[in-house]
Homo-oligomer: 572 residues x 2
């Protein structure tokens, strides 16, 4: 392709409102343009990279035995009402009416549609298992679209759904998709981790998120540098380090009430009393499925709602209101575990062994000091209810856990029978019994992968594409297009490289060399081939974008070099 | 791919509500399923065929120098308001609001979006011409979705837009797209005609529709079997055959009033007076841009509104109301040209030379007979204002014109500056002057092509796929999968055929042979290879779906035969 007429509108300046590196670079390199908040057009180069990701996804999904199909984006509301999600999905689900007043949703995901198809077409165990997938646009009206393609409202997703007749079958389907995902993200050139995630209210057993590691990521990954353990923060388990001498000691004196006027937050307390957060035991007052519960956490720890729900087998957890706290005989901002006999109190393991703790006194403007749970609430049960903190120990191998930021690029999930039951998708087993089909679902944010790859592959000058998804493999740059010798050699190279199976963008523009070199670095294709002053000797420069290495080559040397540089040929 | 686990739900019975052959066959062969009126899911086989069409479209568009991109389906209303189409598009344009109450349209077409992108990115003649295209889902809330994929509400379209700095440039871009369309439809195996069409209110000069010939088509094509002339009915021009002796004669007597009680339609008049429609001159009373106009047509001809508009340079034409007709001094159902001095009267050429015509008497329940326009309205201007009728003569070569039914599968259109002016997309020319960019637009109904191909390629037993877009090239059928010899030979063939580059669906199902043969005919891949009783001798049957020819082959003979049968290899 010749660059002169191609729509590659590079920008010199960094667009002001683009916070993420990938967003800035995709705008600057002319890969995308915003049409509306969270809604983007893919310009030719951006689409090429996106298509290369799609090709990888298709190849790996097909190799795993999944079958591609394509479902509509317009979903009749009846299906979403049958699954119960029409009401619970909230404003993120975009809705409209047709000319006859019938309600539709723009598909945010396709469980309902695929389940209704399978319900109609598959009735016997003999037709199971089957895994179906599609690459389709999804619509989610995010409250705060940001970071370009990382959190958009109209985006491209690969979603797959497995249908099995047994739990063991689901395990196999799940593993097969898990492995395909590892292949896909590896081939896309991503640094990623598959992390244990929470299966939430749907009640599946296993679920993993595939996280591309990147500072801009909005998810926190807890991982062990020693063993393979990795989980998202919601799900991560750790072991509290030994607390040393303090835990052996006993409290210095009896609890004492102190006046703390209008001091109702941990931060204020630390400042007012000049103590560390490790000396504070905070009390979080919750409504757990209708029952008041107080959870105690060390001042520097956060409650992990997921762990609390799982521990108590609870469905709904919310904060108690100020009124409800009054009814318990306490007051918001000054709640404490001492002297609240009629409330269920759970202590997180982070509170164990604190001998001189400060807690709320259940009285306006007062706290208690010198509290020791072991002494003052001797029957307390200690549970793991906090978000793991960096420095806690890996529960598998005891090494200190590390934190990282990640972008969720994929998710595999054992759905079970939630949708097959609500939509009536059943099969007859070997004995003629009717059973709900057992489902799994598996998503990849295809357009998000594109942004995540760039988020991990750039430098000051621009993008550094992995060979597998670069819009073009080779950027051929003619320094002086008005020079006949340079143009002749460029044409020869253009033909030879394309015949050898490489995709080539030929910068034949009448621009200053500096502009062209800068654009080449910004666009960031793996290899730049420059035809300049030595064209008369048929000598060209070959520069690798990632390593920065450059060589002077003859045409034959260049072809030989490319053959080793690109182990896999990709002609598109 | 093995058929046992593939989702190919064939149906024995013809679905009752499917009127078109393609609709019935796509349902029966398990290619598509309806989700809602005019909204379909593509099952695996349907999607494969659709993807093959997309590949052909991409190859030809790329070869023509067009660049692929991808625009969103969600369009902010501001753009459609700027072009003026938000109001004129009517209920066919699906609309919704986001969570913040901003209005969006679901893209019915993308002129607004592409023009706004080009407006921002292209400013100089140096960057022109450029042609951009996408393959994207379109949404049109049809009043009456029908015929499966032929008229749906969510469908796949290829839309291209050319941008030029001169009218000559547009001519070239247009020709290039026209030629690409000829290649695309030819490669898809369609019987089609490129017909002259009307450019409507947009005011472009040239426009052609690509019509796939099919009885189910809702468009009428007028074509000449002798020369290349073809046009749609709206646009077609003919020449009235000579009227023979009648035109030489003069009227038999003076006009006379006859009582025709409650006889107000042509049909009633024919019956009541026992005359032929050729003896009637009907008067169509119209409001043309606010002025009343009466158009005279022979009783068996229909007004062509497009011709009328073009002749008069009019924008709006509507029927006069009964009240407005009264104001002219006439009465609805009994209008006639004689005795209406204050109305503009235009006579279609079909009325020329009728010597004993019946016309309305402008009086309730009365007509006039023995009218001759030449005598009674001597200053009448005769114009071509009627829809061509079969049997009229080709205006190019004089041969009798024929009618055919067609499905519009493509449309090329010289847009001009309508959108670039309303949206402000301008460029600087060589002299630094700012000019609106000159545009063309070019559409292909990709999913409609799929249906049109089937509409032209089937028999009693099922679909007969063209080799270029068949979901699979070869259907390998093992008659008795429990027979080890048959399975061994089938496995060998499956491997050998795939290695030779053919896509193969292997029917390895435990079904009765009759069911499998019927399904193979229904699915209609170009070549069926059957492994049956002669597997022991390594002899197989090869049957061509279209010709019905069948052969007994060795494996080597089969491979040689396939090589000549499939001149172009397609591995997907």
């Amino acid at each position: 392709m010749k660059q002169q007429r191609m729509l590659i509108p590079t920008l010199r300046d960094v667009p002001g409102d683009a916070e993420a590196a990938s967003h800035r670079l995709m705008l600057r390199a002319g890969l995308i343009r915003q049409l509306s908040s969270g809604i983007y057009s893919y310009l030719p180069l951006g689409l090429k990279a996106l298509q290369h990701i799609q090709t990888i996804v298709r190849e790996e999904m097909d190799a795993a035995g999944a079958q591609e199909m394509l479902m509509p984006a317009l979903h009749p509301s009846e299906l979403w009402k049958a699954s119960g999600r029409w009401d619970v999905y909230g404003p993120e689900l975009m809705r409209l009416e047709d000319r006859n007043g019938r309600e539709f949703a723009l598909g945010a995901t396709h469980e309902e549609v695929i389940t209704s198809i399978v319900k109609d077409e598959i009735h016997s165990y003999k037709k199971l298992p089957v895994t179906l997938y599609q690459i389709q646009t999804k619509y989610r009206d995010e409250r705060r679209p940001r970071f370009g393609l990382l959190r958009g409202r109209e985006f491209l997703m690969k979603d797959a759904y497995s249908f099995d007749s047994s739990a063991e079958g689901l395990d196999e389907s799940y593993t097969s998709m898990y492995n395909a995902y590892v292949n896909i993200f590896t081939r896309c050139g991503l640094q990623f981790r598959a992390v244990e995630a929470d299966s939430g209210a749907i009640g599946g057993t296993d679920t993993h998120e595939f996280m591309a590691l990147a500072e801009v990521g909005e998810d926190t990954i807890v991982h062990c540098p020693s063993c393979q353990y990795a989980a998202n923060l919601e799900k991560a388990l750790g072991r509290m380090p030994e607390q040393g001498a303090q835990s052996q000691a006993s409290a210095t004196s009896e609890p004492a009430k102190i006046h703390t006027p209008a001091i109702s937050s941990i931060k204020q307390l630390i400042q007012f009393l000049q103590i560390s957060p490790q000396q504070i035991i905070k009390s979080v007052a919750l409504d757990v499925d209708g029952t008041p519960v107080i959870v105690l956490l060390r001042g520097d720890y956060e409650l992990n709602e997921i762990k609390l729900k799982q521990t108590l087998g609870a469905a709904d957890v919310s904060m108690l209101s100020e009124n409800e706290i009054l009814k318990l005989g306490s007051i918001a901002g000054f709640i404490g575990p001492v002297g609240l006999p009629n409330v269920k109190i759970l202590a997180d393991i982070s509170t164990r062994g604190i001998i001189d703790a400060v807690v709320g006194a259940n009285e306006l403007d007062y706290h208690l000091t010198h509290v020791s749970l072991e002494r003052d609430l001797p029957h307390t049960t200690y549970l793991d209810l906090h978000n793991v903190a960096e420095g806690e120990l890996c529960s598998h191998c005891g090494h200190e856990l590390l934190f990282a930021k990640g972008i969720e690029v994929g998710h595999v999930f054992k759905l079970g029978t939630k949708y097959s039951k609500s939509l009536g998708a059943t099969f007859s087993d070997e004995h003629g019994n009717s059973e709900p089909i057992i489902m799994g679902c598996y998503g990849i944010g295809v357009s998000r992968v594109l942004a995540a790859v760039i988020e991990q592959n750039y430098d000051e000058q621009g993008i550094i594409w992995p060979e597998t998804i670069a819009p073009f493999s080779i950027h051929l740059l003619t320094v002086q297009p008005q020079n006949e010798i340079q143009m002749k050699l460029s044409q020869d190279l253009y033909t030879a490289l394309q015949q050898a199976g490489y995709s080539v963008l030929w910068d034949d523009r009448e621009e200053r060399p500096g502009v062209k070199f800068n654009d080449a670095d910004l666009l960031g294709f793996p290899v730049r081939v420059t035809v300049g002053k030595k064209a008369g000797d048929r000598i060209i420069e070959c520069k690798e974008r990632r390593s920065g290495l450059s060589y002077e080559f003859t045409v034959q040397q260049l072809l030989a070099h490319c053959q080793s540089f690109f182990p896999i040929r990709r002609s598109i």
